[in-house]
Amino acid sequence: MKLRAIGILRFLQVSSSLIILGLLVEIVSLLWFHPLAFVLFAFVGASLMGLGILVYLASLVFAVSPPAENRG
């Protein structure tokens, strides 16, 4: 499936899911006082959030936009 065929709404849902998951991991890492908590935050939480942000930014570029003739 081409990226342009995916609607912006689907992009936003995927992006927000990834960000929420990443933020939940960040909360766990902050409440867990252990050297592995940093690994959990940096390699899991921050990666999920980073991916979510990239999906959001991709939605601005690749998501379906209205046809040119319908624009004012």
């Binding site: 992006s15 927000s16 960000i19 902050l30 921050a46 942000i53």
Partner: protein, 204 residues
Amino acid sequence: MAPTGILVALIVLTIALAAVFLMRPTITVGTTGKILAFAALCALPVLCIVTGMSAHMQRSEQTKFCISCHSMENYGKSLYVDNPNYIPAQHFQNHRVPPDMACYACHTDYTIYGPLKDKLKGITRIYLQYVSTPPNPIHISGGYSNLQCLHCHAGARSFEENPIHVAIMDSLKTNQMSCISSGCHDTVHNASEVDHLKMWRPAQ
């Protein structure tokens, strides 16, 4: 509210806003929705990553964080040895370093990217602890630099006016002669011996 509390509040706010776009993404049709989407799905998550990283970096400066690894337990105990010849114990017990940041004060790299380098080294040690096997005894790669001692002691009257220090000052400042392994201040952690030594018990 503690900094971690503020950060958790920020995270909860971001989760709440992101949840709105998970359940009702159609609100991005309007201009306000688009601005809110930018805040919830880009600006606030970036802020959460940066502040989270900062919170983790600050936490890893704490003594209790360093000694939470099993292989560091004896190094933590060595701070309580009741013998003034033990350099780390003497510094810790007399508050010559902040007791809650004792490991960091003497082992960090006091350069602009020092904390970042320390964190990368720390990740290597986590790998050794949980995946590979930690070396026994633990050695600092490249040896202990005098610059870490001189960060505090350079310029101090008792250090600068000591006749032995004066005679070898250039060698100390250029790290040619080590403070801790040249026969002067050579009783350091001795982690393998701490279980047989008398310990100082601070008054509660």
